[in-house]
């Protein structure tokens, strides 16, 4: 016989890892806490249908992933958020000449992968993510961390075409690149000399 559900045990065993997962994708502690709670409540309700084919952990994370996407879907449904932003428009104007070729060169980033071991780099990385409008940061994180396809991202963020997704991601990456360059790589090159 199956033992009765013990949601408190679920919380003890997986609460922190569920929370970390939700927080890294939403970048918002309150939303992440609510998502953990919603996940456990949904699990409690659906406990009878839990097939025991997977581990409790896999099952709970499966529910959480759905909850995260649901959260964004609800948030952006008919919100008409504009993914166009003046900063990336300015950057593009600044970078390219009238023939759409570079009018400036970038410095090489020296040993960028070494930065991944540096605690301060990660602080900078997160600051750069914070400089993005929140919907852009979410789009980027769901693409990079959740591995959502352009089609899936279209649905979650209520965007019209996959082409919108490509262009928006390109602009987001352009901003992140510029931010990391000015806040990290230019500085670390200076200090390395």
């Amino acid at each position: 016989m199956a033992s009765p559900p013990d949601p408190e045990q679920w919380l003890n065993d997986f609460g922190d890892s569920l929370y970390r997962y939700a927080l890294s994708r939403t970048q918002n502690p309150e939303i992440a806490e609510d998502l953990v709670q919603d996940t456990l409540l949904a699990a409690l309700q659906a406990e009878k249908t839990f097939a025991q084919k997977s581990s409790v952990k896999t099952w709970l994370f499966g529910i959480l992933k759905h909850k995260i996407l649901d959260h964004f879907r609800k948030h952006y449904k008919e919100a008409n958020v504009s993914f166009d932003d003046s900063i990336s428009n300015d950057l593009r104007q600044h970078y390219f000449d009238e023939n759409d070729h570079w009018q400036q060169d970038f410095p090489e980033w020296l040993n960028p992968d070494k930065s991944l071991e540096n605690h301060q780099f990660w602080t900078t990385f997160r600051i750069c993510l914070d400089t993005l409008p929140s919907h852009q940061a979410s789009l980027f994180l769901l693409c990079e961390m959740e591995g959502l396809t352009a089609k899936e991202l279209c649905k979650v963020f209520d965007m019209k075409t996959t082409n919108n997704v490509w262009v928006t991601l390109s602009r987001i990456r352009m901003r992140l690149r510029a931010c990391l360059e000015s806040r990290w790589f230019e500085k670390s090159t200076d200090s390395g000399e």
């Binding site: 960028p112 997160r126 961390m145 390109s170 990456r173």
Partner: protein, 83 residues
Amino acid sequence: MHTCKEVIDLASKRLISKLKWQENLGFRLHLIICRTCVRYTKQLEFISRASAQLDEQFRDTKLSVKARKRIIHNLSKQQSNIE
């Protein structure tokens, strides 16, 4: 021939999706002649590698005691509703 502006969009697109063969060919040909686009492409690849490690940066993060209490409270409320 692609412009640099088109190439940086392709450099971003190819990180999550396979390019069409024409796009891929144009992209590769452009990189042969454009050092700045090569650099830009490498830097985007780095940002993608970094993003894949973001999870690890949260490894010391924990649910607050307050949130934990609130969740337990709401769970037991629902549990008693079910029973």
